[in-house]
Amino acid sequence: MHPLLLLLLATAHGLDKLSYKPTLVGGNVEGRMTGSTFVLEQPRCVFDSYSTANIWLVVATREGMDAFNDSAQPGMPEWSFQRFPTNTSAYLTLGAMQYHYGCPKPDRELTVLRVGSETDCADNISVPNCNGPLPGPGPYWVKFLALNGSEPTATTEWSGPITLKTAREPQSIPGTGGARSGAMIAITAILSVLLAILLAALLATLCSSEACGVGSFRPDAASIRRYNTHHVYDQPAARL
């Protein structure tokens, strides 16, 4: 009974329900969702038959979506951005004349609507339709509403839930230290071994000469020494 009554009321007021569902812009736009903004495709070729209407965007929470009354007026404080979401569960913003969304969509232009881009009017209650940054991660639902003067003439479907990014603390970034690489281990190991060999060779060289050995053990050195001694004795003998 109730839905039938609502439907009758809607058609009595001339409100058309369009089957268009607002969508986020495609993936190559990297800023499509930030912590407080999101980017929608423009409703091109949707409101063609409502050439005198103003197209408004309705942004709502879950409660707002369920309770939204299509006879909302953009200037009213009940639907103002500044009271969202604590005192109101939906607001209207981004109002534009229908000719801005003309058909066909221009080929190489990016036709988007950035929700949340106006920061200077966010606290200004004299601008109730401010497109201010969204106050939390959501989720939010949006739809377009066409108003002819103060009468709603058409509305689209509600979009799917849009949940914005929540930023993490930098302290949560995991381990900033690195693992030991193979190259570093190789360098350390090889150089240590080489240094050890050098020190051992130095000790061996010093000890094989007069420093710590009990005389020389190598026959070569002994033979050179004997040869020199022999020469020294020879000279004075020759002179004599």
């Binding site: 407080s36 881009s117 900033t176 570093m184 050195a221």
Partner: protein, 258 residues
């Protein structure tokens, strides 16, 4: 006798050649390390802020080791030509000390290069870039260094992995710049000749062509890796050659007659 004489001559020749090579490598090492210490890419403030700038310490040691190698190689050549036991003993001992220092430099460069991970720079960027409430003078200096370096880097890239680093994490930058106007710093936008973004809305939306979409990790790690591996591997090569020359010198020293 003639055979031993020839043998000695060959030994001397090889040792002199070895020392000449060591001298030239010493000059090259000094030049390379001076180049690294002069920081042509301007990345030193990033390392200073991580308090992990030991690859610069390794380069400084390399400068002095290079000079030492040059001086000692000349001493070695003189000692070999004069066949003087004293000179060669001094040469061997000083060379071992230089060897130890150069070994320290190589190992330091290689070890500390392993610390330079993307997460290290990410954390530092988020915590220090445009930080407004600095605790003391040291903190302020480090913050200014990091900010200036990142502003320079962001002419060609954004964030460490990409611009979304600024979205995924809160940061000191986010404290003073709101998310709607600055999804990422405006320095990430493609600039015209007057250092203004060519299309600020395009940059904020993230439309390709109006902002830098690649991450800066390659631009940071590339030069730092080249520096670390340049010091470490070139030093390693010099030390291997020096090892051979020192063994030969010790052998020659033990054969010298009084």
């Amino acid at each position: 006798m003639a055979k031993t004489d020839n043998g000695i001559r060959i030994c001397q020749g090889l040792l002199i050649l070895g020392n000449v090579v060591i001298g030239m490598c010493g000059i090259a090492l000094t030049a390379e390390c001076i180049f690294f210490v002069s920081d042509p890419h301007g990345l030193y403030p990033l390392l200073e802020a991580t308090e992990n700038n030991d690859i610069y310490a390794a380069a400084w040691i390399g400068i002095f080791v290079g000079f030492a190698l040059l001086a000692l190689s000349i001493l070695g050549i003189v000692g070999v030509m004069k066949s003087s036991k004293t000179l060669l003993l001094v040469y061997i001992i000083l060379m071992l000390i230089t060897y130890a220092f150069e070994m320290a430099s190589c190992i330091t460069a290689a070890t500390h290069r392993d610390f330079l991970t993307p997460n290290l720079f990410l954390k530092q960027m988020l915590e220090r870039y445009m930080k407004s409430d600095t605790d003391n003078n040291n903190d302020k200096q480090m913050t200014e260094g990091v900010t200036k370096t990142w502003d320079n880097l962001m002419l060609q890239c954004c964030g460490v992995h990409g611009p979304l680093d600024w979205q995924e994490y809160t940061s000191a930058f986010r404290m003073t710049h709101n998310d709607a106007d600055y999804p990422w710093p405006h320095n990430c936008c493609v600039m015209n000749t007057r250092s203004e973004p060519i299309n600020l809305d395009g940059c904020k939306l993230g439309v390709p062509g109006f902002y830098n979409s690649n991450g800066c990790y390659d631009a940071i790690s590339g030069p730092l890796n080249r520096q670390a591996w340049g010091v470490a591997w070139f030093g390693f090569a010099i030390l291997c050659w020096t090892f051979c020359v020192l063994l030969g010198t010790m052998f020659y020293w033990s054969r010298i007659a009084y």
